[in-house]
Symmetry: C2
Subunit: 238 residues, 2 copies
DNA sequence: TGTACATCAGTGAACGCGCGTTCACTGATGTAC
DNA sequence: TGTACATCAGTGAACGCGCGTTCACTGATGTAC
């Protein structure tokens, strides 16, 4: 066992402990809500002292920031994988697969969904310079890809849209316009509409508001998604 | 000044103080998030001792429960008033007016919106026997009225819907079926879809996710709503 | 291989804080005769 | 009208708790010669 090997092990252990801290934090949030993420609770769960965590994260807020980043990445990976796996020749299928990946991811880690889309941890303030994490922008770009896929079919529905480039955030456009050169303002707006549409159903489900109404939220999502695709003028394949 | 008059004044003062406690709680939540609702903070704000509040609410959770109830009532009143004010002969107008009332209410009291639709106060657990407040059911019935209005126009879109009565909560059906006798299961599902649709855009806006994308969330909502009505086959009037 | 030193993960006690809630109380307001 | 009593809103001190964070430290692991 060489010197660098030994050092490597130390680093590996460090990384593993850091990862476990974050896992425990997410697990705590899953069972006790966002307020359950406290350094002392995490330490208790791991059999350490609370301040041992300061060896890994400078501050509780730093931990939360890192957590949010991880969660965004996990979501972005999930939907990107689904999108890439669906055949490019079947736009309706791609959109549906993307949307289902979004919902499935949310159902699999509702605590993560709440962390990034709901009220985050009490007392937490995001870092100042903090642009949204890269992964958040990947999700956003994915949504625009959805809209760009639908656009040629749906264009005629938005003939009288009032949207101008000036209605959008310049930072968003800097990412989106080069990637989808043919997409007009109303097409970018379409991405936000689709997002809102899907987000609503998923949010209601995650926060338990659908559960008191229907026992088949999956059926609701599936049918609504099919109708969304149809209303955009994209006929599903085989 | 008679005896009952004096007693009446005492009662009135009591009611006013209770109302002020709730107002202060909402104001605190508006500025500091749901975690800011604490008895001590409310008392501080009102210039009282924290335990004086125990004269009005048995427990902090009782206060929050009462708060949630008030907020639901305020929402239900807002959308019902808008609905009633729109002419019954203009279904598209009624739906749009209802939806705008929903969004306007949320924008006017985002803290209320978060309280009922997001993570509520940390540490709060709703009362056990707690059915949803009456007002929550009024909102739900209002949504079904929306769907029932749209149904005759949109029916053909849902010809192949799989929804059965057994997909819904019996308590929901007990309220809804007598009120809208002609509405089939797919029509009730339509109410949930419309809800999800609107909820998504409003939630994204309230939680600040739209703000980083577009400067015109109102335009987005207006156009999306117009397209929703159109896609349901209801042509707007005048 | 053996010894002296450096690194560094984790300890344990302590700090000051804000929280919900309890308790015995005070003092003003209203009531009964 | 005047006095004795009841009501009851609010006080002030205290409780036990969990929190984030700081501090001086220990003891095992790895490094240099």
């Amino acid at each position: 066992m060489t010197g660098t090997g030994a050092t490597g092990r130390r680093e590996r252990l460090r990384a593993e402990t850091a990862a476990e801290i974050k896992n425990v934090a997410l697990r705590l949030m899953a069972s006790g809500g966002p307020g359950a993420i406290t350094l002392r609770a995490i330490a208790r769960e791991m059999g350490m002292t609370a301040n041992a965590i300061y060896g890994y994260f400078a501050t509780r807020d730093d931990l939360v920031t890192s957590l949010v980043d991880d969660v965004y990445t996990s979501l972005a990976d999930a939907v990107a994988t689904a999108w890439d796996a669906a055949p490019a020749g079947d736009p309706a299928g791609r959109i549906q697969v993307w949307a289902h990946a979004f919902r499935d991811w949310a159902l699999a880690s509702p605590e993560g969904f709440r962390l990034i889309y709901g009220d985050s941890v009490p007392g937490y303030t995001a870092p100042e310079g903090g642009a949204a994490p890269d992964a958040a922008q990947r999700v956003c770009t994915g949504l625009t890809a959805l809209a760009a896929t639908a656009w040629p079919h749906a264009e005629h529905l938005y003939a009288d849209s009032d949207f101008q480039w000036s209605d959008f955030d310049p930072g968003l456009l800097a990412k989106v316009r080069p990637a989808f050169p043919g997409l007009p303002p109303a097409g970018v707006a379409l991405a936000l509409r689709i997002w809102g549409h899907l987000h609503g159903l998923v949010t209601l489900e995650i926060y338990g508001h659908l559960r008191t109404q229907t026992v088949s939220p999956d059926k609701l999502f599936r049918e609504e998604l099919a109708q969304l695709v149809r209303s955009l003028g994209i006929s599903p394949k085989g």
